[in-house]
Amino acid sequence: MDDDAAEAAPEAAGADDTTDTVIHTRALTKRYRGGQLAVDGLDLAVPAGSVFGFLGPNGSGKTTTIRMLMGLIEPTSGTARVLGRPMPHASRAVLPHVGALIEGPALYGFLSGRDNLLRYDAADPTADPRTRRARVAEALERVGLTAAAGKKAKAYSLGMKQRLGLAAALLQPRRLLVLDEPTNGLDPQGMREIRVLVRELAADGTTVFLSSHLLDEIEQVCTHAAVMARGRLLTQGPVADLAARARGRLVVTTPDTADAARVLKEQGIGDVVVSEDRVTGEPGDRELADLNTALVTAGVRVRGFGVERASLEDAFVALTGEGFDVAG
């Protein structure tokens, strides 16, 4: 407890960029030996206490970035700070406070689920062996694997392996969780459980850095997001701001679609589209109340009127000008 207070205090006090961000990179670049530029001048800032969604198509450099943050890969240039300390230099001081799931779980198939966790815990020199069994049991409980803890890991389903990987990340109280595609291989029920778990952890004050290629997953749990494509950072910020940047569409529901479309065009609405009983268009800067008045005075019977909120997917398409699943 004292420990947490001591570490949180300087962060709260500092107004500086580097102290209230849990992950901070500057011009982080990785060029692999083949000459391929995997990450190109990345400036990432993950605020403390956020649930940060890290988005991008497969091959956009997300995993390379995460590996650099975790000290597994040396950057070609640029710097990365995690919990205020430089990586990979300060790995041994930083990583005990970080739980990570990187590119899926990796387990010893010939060991039981419990023994896998005991082994990973033994690898951490700051983990107290006296509390090891209790902490392992607690982590297994948290991901719902207690009943299967004695089974050999090779007999686990993909979803169970994923849960065991998560349990390994939760062996100690963490300040930062890095979860790379945590819901891969899980059924809808499992996905929901992970989302609940992530929200719980975030409520406890753990910063969660979540990479995914599933937009709705990010939208459901994340407070902040960053979008990467072809090794470059396209944007980052609060999820609400990102979605707001892609303007919503005006939607009018009416039986008089032809009249409504004519009125809207007269009012200067662009890209008017009629489909069944809906007329949609780009509202531009027009005052919505005036538009509604114009429709009603023209005798259009309006059943529904409003702007449909843009999804993160719309934001993504607006940013990249392409569908999400197109690999960079």
């Binding site: 890969i73 970080v98 990187i102 690898a123």
Partner: protein, 298 residues
Amino acid sequence: MSQVDLVEAERAAVAKPSPLWTLGLFRSEFVTTLRRWRTLALLGVLAAVPILVGIAVKIETEDGSTAGQQGGGGEGPAFMAQITNNGLFLVFTALAATLPFFLPMAVGVIAGDAVAGEANAGTLRYLLVAPAGRTRLLLAKYATTVAFCLLATLVVAVSALAVGALLFPLGDLTTISGTRISLADGLVRALLIALVVAASLLGVAALGLFVSTLTNSGIAAMATTVGLLTTVQILDQIPQLHAIQPYLFSHYWLSFADLMRDPVYWDELRKNLGLQALYVAVFGSAAWARFTAKDITA
């Protein structure tokens, strides 16, 4: 609490981990290695060699003749001829029979798989973010391989002693120099020989660990190490290469027999241990340099 107190409290909290905890990694490493089927199979094969040799000698000598001297020219491993007189010689015979190939092959498999196998399974990245620390992990891996060298040698020796005691008489024995020593003295020498044989494997262990840091395929690392082992043994047999032979890690391996002289002839034993130390220094450093700078992409 003032800011300073908080910082002090944090220091105390960080300083808390006991230095002894770090040994947990070695223990975990060793236990994990022993729980692999592959390791148990290797130890099983090593335990079987003395049993086969013992039974073969027993069958061959049932008519009262001496082993290794029958049927003209068939030269068995050292000490073979003495087994029928004293079961303790089966220990020396078994070590002489397994040292050129079975023992180093087993060590090569364990050492080659040490890092590459974990990289292959992906578990390496989780050990490193735990964080095991690269130097600490490499040391734990090498310590485990060394422990396996000792264990493998002891498995051969103990199996041979058991089979020898079961099939043949035990008693005072004659050294290579012709003097008689007591059984107790003989057992001490057998233990010493086992330790020297285990130490003879340290060079291969370091070489295997270095190869293991070069690749992400456990199979490739094991095959390379065992291939190198065979190549070195062949090179050691080619007379034209006598200039380089004193630097081959296997060159002085059979010097352990000198422990059965009275007095013990230390010259080649010392050369053997020195050569192993050289291999450990060179390939241990190379493995460290490689592993601490490596991008872990598996």
